[in-house]
Symmetry: C2
Subunit: 279 residues, 2 copies
């Protein structure tokens, strides 16, 4: 698989790069951002942390705003930030609302036309992208962990629930607990799955937990001043499913924090350290 380097920049003794490739899974060119720690300081294959971003985001938000490179440089982590939806195609309604379509894939494999042709982000993230990264970067794929923010928190939980054994640990910042039962996800259920709720539930972390899937040790933070807390994110729903399933987890309400990248930046260090402990 070919990978084009768009830009690399030195950061914290390592390299922050932007890359592009033609994705088979989604049928469009896709960009990703990869941070590599210093090769002298951390020689040999390094563990890899996947960070999935939220609604409205591209890989750039996390890369520019979270300040994760500093900690990744210290811990010797490769951090991959994939894009949040297929790019370069225009489908009906895909830019009408920030919670559906472009930058709003929910990381699912859509089953209803016309979205099913391109919105195959689960396939992309679970198979194609890991193979691409393993081919082009000095990573140790036996040491992976996953994290994400908001829709990306949902995505991190989803990937780990459906790929048991792939990730040693999981983290999520203000994740959407159950997109099939919150207002943000209504259009996704209707259009990505043609209203087939059962098909959508196969990508819903809370439903997957209720259906018997499980997770490795998981850390979740949520700001209690987050304006999306009660209607969209609903950590109590996730908490209940995690507890019922017996998942080893901590879910913390952080007083005064909202949904922004200031919240992500504040807690990303603790999350990366939590993930790296398992490497």
């Amino acid at each position: 698989m070919t990978l084009e380097t768009l830009k690399t920049q030195r950061a914290f003794g390592g390299t922050q790069g932007n890359y592009r490739h033609q994705s088979e899974a989604v049928g469009t060119p896709m960009e990703l951002a990869v941070f590599q720690p210093s090769a002298e300081r951390h020689p040999g294959p390094r563990p890899v942390v996947w960070f999935l971003s939220g609604l409205t985001c591209t890989p750039e938000n996390f890369v520019v705003k979270a300040g994760a490179q500093r900690v990744a440089a210290e811990l010797g982590l490769v951090v991959v930030a994939p894009d949040t939806s297929p790019r370069g195609v225009s489908l009906p309604g895909d830019t009408e609302h920030y919670w559906f379509g472009q930058s709003a894939s929910y990381y699912v494999d859509a089953s209803a036309a016309p979205y099913s042709e391109h919105y195959r982000m689960f396939q992309y993230l679970s198979a194609e992208l890991p193979a691409l990264v393993a081919e082009h970067f000095p990573v140790d794929m036996s040491r992976q962990a996953v994290s994400g923010h908001s829709m990306g928190g949902h995505g991190a939980l989803l990937l780990a629930l459906r790929q048991p054994g792939r990730f040693r640990r999981v983290s999520a910042l203000a994740p959407i607990a159950s997109f099939t039962t919150c207002p943000w996800g209504e259009l996704a259920v209707e259009r990505y799955f043609g209203g087939d709720l059962a098909a959508a539930q196969a990508f819903d972390p809370t439903c997957l937990l209720q259906g018997g899937a499980s997770l490795p040790s998981t850390l979740i933070d949520q700001g209690d001043a987050d304006p999306f807390l009660k209607e969209q994110l609903r950590p109590e729903v996730l908490q209940q499913a995690l507890t019922a399933r017996g998942v080893d987890h901590r879910l913390r309400l952080q007083p005064g924090y909202d949904h922004s990248y200031f919240f992500v930046a504040t807690f990303v260090e603790e999350h990366l350290r939590f993930l790296a402990e398992a490497f």
Copy 2:
């Protein structure tokens, strides 16, 4: 003086805020960003660090991209990021080039009409804004330091050179050494000062050093892969003037770093610690 709070957000246990006020010095509304560390962790009046941004910037760039809040929260620093030029007025040519006019004040007091009416940023930063901040935030104005990036590095040096005794220490990241003798500054000399070179030199750090002004202990970093290094920034010119004047300083060339906020984010921690040592 009245200060309007536009937004506050929790970050690293402290508060990142955006504020607006009507400036007498520049005759327009001006915005600024202020980080305050946790009052429980750092009670009482806190030292204040001023951070001046570069060409094309607003206060937001530093606030969102540099990750300085983490270190400021630990060290108990109030960090003030002022805007980079007057806002809300339209003057001839002020948006034609990124290196002149809006977001490109060079922090001078213009002497030529029509710029002289509003482009009074030195007056703003040296007198009005400190008084405003002292009135509205729990700061200890006997403990100040100043830093900045690119045009803001020039600004930090300029403020410290013309206000001896105000700052305990100075730092600059990729500063413009001498705007009166580099291409970026040509329009500034021509239009802010009507081509009066002597008037412009009164705001040029290298000229001020050559004229006998001095600085407290100063830390300067510069990336050696910075595309503006040789033509615009010219650290060797500054180095020579600092050495000739006997200023206690370190000027370091950092291998592989460019002019971006990845460079700023990488070194801002060391700069804040350097400044805070003097508090």
